[in-house]
Subunit: 108 residues, 2 copies
């Protein structure tokens, strides 16, 4: 899971994921077009995304096609974010409860 968090920490890599979200199965060259850095730099970012299992690769001749894998993001959301999400909702609930108490009981 650490690899996924690390992979998501970089703006360029998030842009790559967004790019694949817009149009899945793009080649390295196509993905490069949207980032202001050399092809080799993009390659490195994509290798990290592959290592985190966020991107899967299929070779077709000399072309390397990249596909988004949403599963790791889903897992993070389930096992990690969900916990804090519940806390957030609870905080909102407490706030609401507090406000309602205010309505019926002004000395608080």
């Amino acid at each position: 899971m650490d690899a996924v968090f690390k992979a998501l920490a970089d703006e360029s890599r998030r842009k790559l994921l967004d790019q694949l979200h817009r149009s899945n199965g793009q080649t390295l060259g196509e993905l490069c077009a949207h980032l202001d850095m050399t092809r080799q730099a993009v390659t490195k970012h994509l290798l990290l995304l592959e290592a985190a299992n966020l991107v899967a690769v299929v070779w077709r001749g000399r072309k390397k096609l990249h596909y988004l894998n949403p599963v790791p993001i889903h897992e993070i959301s389930e096992r990690w974010i969900g916990k804090y999400e519940r806390l957030h909702l609870q905080a909102l609930g407490d706030l609401k409860k507090g406000l309602e108490q205010h309505k019926t009981n002004d000395e608080n």
Copy 2:
């Protein structure tokens, strides 16, 4: 939002958040007890978490109390993860549809 992703990228910082999730409002010293590094290192991590607005701080005398703020995590979940979550559900849906077609139409 970048600051939040970066803050979450480090295992020690995630542990700090988990620690606060277990027991909110801990002092620096208390938080240090759970990590195998110097107080100063922990301070740096906490400063990053504060910068990302994931942790809020209240001074009480010489004690620095740390409180978890789940809002940024919620925002990430809403504006970023949700998008890929939907993709994931859609993929599952497509898979399910495919299986059902298999049941009724075996030549696929």
